[in-house]
């Protein structure tokens, strides 16, 4: 039996997708842990493997993908065991995904779709489940829940529908919530409201939160810890504070440069030049080399490993930023 003291522990996870043009290595040796009540964000561009990672944390891999190596442990039990994963999904870990309008069946009522998870996992009947569903809708800020339960998803706005999805995710009192780009499909005002809702629910209920996003702006208020994913690998990790103010990896810095922020005045946003690497043919060397302004010959030939620097911080780079060589920039706000 694999022992783990963490809520979720992912060890050396590798996920591959065979395609006609070659095998895509979507996730390449990712390890991290999530503890109870902790909020962790995984940030990366599209194609970085972040959504695959989110699904894998539920024991789900979309075919033809498969897990080529590593482990996913939930409170010490392997989620690679389908029977374990089936019992835990929706009950102990639940998920909020990107597009709320596509997330629920368009031809079943909200009530049906909220209660079907409860009647399966909790020992309650349909009537009780409906009462509970109404309470949950009220809790996420949907007025007139009794009427709303009889409606279909298309009768809700995007923001309202995402609230429904969140309420459904919380219906079995889970320990962890995985939110995969929960605000991407929404308009800006609604984005802030939904983020705030997730954040406050996480604190009130003592949930662990795994937030997957491409947008560092989303992370700012919502998460304590941050992992930056590039080409299927974690290239930098630490507290959100540390990474925002003193990124070591040039990619993290580039991401920050491309994110609009209210607290920092920037003349213009910097787009990241170039494209992510082709994950069918990953050679030696750092995968960020072709796009990196600080790349040297060493970067192209040898791959840097994720190495710790200070408390709870790590980066994978030969030429880290912010004067790391010589002095240790990590200070205060470190992970306890």
């Amino acid at each position: 039996m694999n022992r783990s003291d963490h809520l979720l522990e992912i060890r050396n996870l590798e996920v591959v997708f065979p395609t006609r043009e070659g095998t895509v290595q979507a996730v390449r040796g990712v390890s991290f842990t999530v503890d109870a009540g902790e909020s962790l964000a995984v940030v990366g561009e599209s194609g970085s493997g972040k959504s695959t990672l989110a699904r894998a944390a539920l024991g789900l891999i979309e075919l033809p993908g498969r897990i080529a190596g590593g482990e996913i442990l939930w409170r010490g039990r392997s989620l690679l065991d389908k029977r374990v994963a089936r019992r835990i999904r929706g009950r102990e870990i639940s998920m909020v995904s990107q597009d709320p309008m596509a997330s629920m069946s368009p031809i079943l009522t909200i009530g049906t779709q909220m209660t079907e998870v409860m009647t399966r996992h909790l020992d309650i009947g349909r009537r009780e489940a409906f009462t509970r569903a109404g309470d949950l809708l009220e809790k996420v800020g949907i007025p007139d829940p009794g009427r709303r339960l009889g409606q279909y998803p298309f009768e809700f706005s995007g923001g309202m529908q995402q609230r429904v999805v969140i309420a459904t995710a919380l219906s079995c009192d889970p320990m962890m919530l995985i939110a995969d780009e929960p605000t991407t499909a929404l308009d800006v005002t609604t984005q802030a409201q939904i983020l705030e809702l997730i954040s406050s629910l996480q604190k009130d209920l003592g949930l662990a939160l795994l937030l997957i996003t491409h947008d560092l702006g989303v992370v700012a208020g919502a998460c304590d810890l941050l992992k930056v994913l590039y080409a299927g690998e974690i290239v930098e990790s630490g507290t959100a504070d540390q990474l925002f103010h003193r990124p070591h990896h040039p990619y993290t810095a580039a991401l920050l440069g491309s994110t609009p922020r209210l607290d920092v005045k920037a003349d213009r946003l910097m787009a990241i030049e170039g494209h992510p690497p082709d994950l069918r043919h990953v050679g030696g060397g750092c995968t960020f080399t072709p796009r990196c302004p600080h790349a040297t010959t060493r970067c192209a030939s040898a791959s840097p490993v994720l190495q710790p620097s200070g408390v709870g911080r790590a980066y994978a780079c030969w030429n880290p930023l912010n004067g790391l060589q010589g002095r240790d920039p990590s200070h205060g706000g470190g992970r306890a």
Binding site: L60, R89, S94, M95, A102, E116
Partner: protein, 309 residues
């Protein structure tokens, strides 16, 4: 709902009238109905008499007007072969056809849906491969030939069923199965592909992630979606069975329904009776179309009656 129904009904009447106009144009303008109806040795007097009897000596537009008005009154004239109102003959022969069509269609849809759902759940598996092959055979084998081959094997060879005619349930089995086989094939292929599509939708993936059981996803989420897609196809199939398959199968098995009657009428040059059959079938076809639309609208909450074109 009321306005919608009224609109659909008026469209349906229009379709039936246009079918009858086409039949009229074909029989009176392109063809020569009198020549078709009369025996070869008929004289010029016989011909004039029959023309007058059928009102063919009057102006063509007046004929068309009378014809449509009569059709709306369900009066299509007397059958030349049976010497009584053609509508009476058709209505008398309708119940056997309805029985056969109901049995064949039910067999086809039920088996087709079961095969489609099971194979759509595991595309590429052996059940799926067998189902796809079976479906392909169902749409590729000529129906009249399957009917005859079944007679050769099951009636002549094994003696399990009578070769043709009507009577007890044993007479119904072979024609119903033969009528339903192409339906099984097409319904299975359509249900299968919409099951595959449904099971690949984001909401099914998310339902899995939410912790909905596989059984419930297949039986409720995917099947309701696939069902809505299948209903339309099933409607077309029913129309095909009624207006095509039944004629062929009834003829092969000498089943005393309207299809067999139509063939007998054609052999006897009884154009009036053929018209009556076409008329009744056209009415049934448009009725099925309306029923399918209403069922579809009731099943799919996204479609509202007032929004259906």
């Amino acid at each position: 709902m009321g306005r919608y129904l009224l609109k659909r009904l008026s469209q349906a009447v229009l379709v039936v009238i246009s079918v009858m106009v086409v039949v009229f144009v074909v029989t009176r303008l392109i063809g020569d109905p009198v020549a078709v109806m009369l025996p070869l040795e008929a004289t010029e007097e016989n011909r004039a008499l029959l023309e007058a009897q059928l009102g063919l000596d009057r102006p063509i537009l007046a004929q068309l007007g009378d014809y449509v008005v009569d059709a709306v009154r369900f009066d299509l004239g007397d059958s030349l072969w049976q010497r009584r109102p053609a509508m009476d003959v058709v209505l008398e022969r309708l119940p056997p056809t309805l029985l056969l069509v109901a049995a064949g269609f039910a067999f086809g849809v039920l088996l087709g849906v079961v095969i489609g759902v099971v194979s759509g759940m595991r595309p590429g598996g052996w059940v799926d491969r067998a189902a796809v092959t079976f479906g392909l055979l169902g749409v590729s084998l000529p129906q009249f030939w399957i009917g005859l081959v079944f007679i050769v094997f099951f009636s002549v060879g094994l003696g399990w069923f009578p070769t043709s005619g009507s009577g007890g349930i044993e007479y119904l089995v072979l024609p119903a199965v033969v009528l339903g086989l192409p339906v099984v094939g097409r319904i299975a292929l359509v249900t299968r592909s919409s099951m595959i599509d449904e099971l690949n939708t984001q909401h099914v993936k998310d339902a899995t992630a939410r912790g909905v059981s596989r059984t419930r996803i297949v039986m409720v989420h995917a099947m309701k979606g696939a069902g809505i897609a299948t209903i339309t196809i099933a409607g077309w199939e029913l129309i095909g069975v009624l207006a095509g398959g039944a004629v062929v199968v009834e003829t092969v098995y000498a089943w005393p329904g309207i299809g067999f009657t139509a063939m007998q009428a054609i052999e006897r040059h009884d154009i009036i009776l053929v018209q009556a059959v076409v008329f009744v079938v056209a009415i049934m076809v448009v009725t099925i179309n309306i029923i399918v639309d209403i069922t579809y609208t009731m099943l799919d909450p996204r479609v509202k009656f007032d929004r259906v074109s």
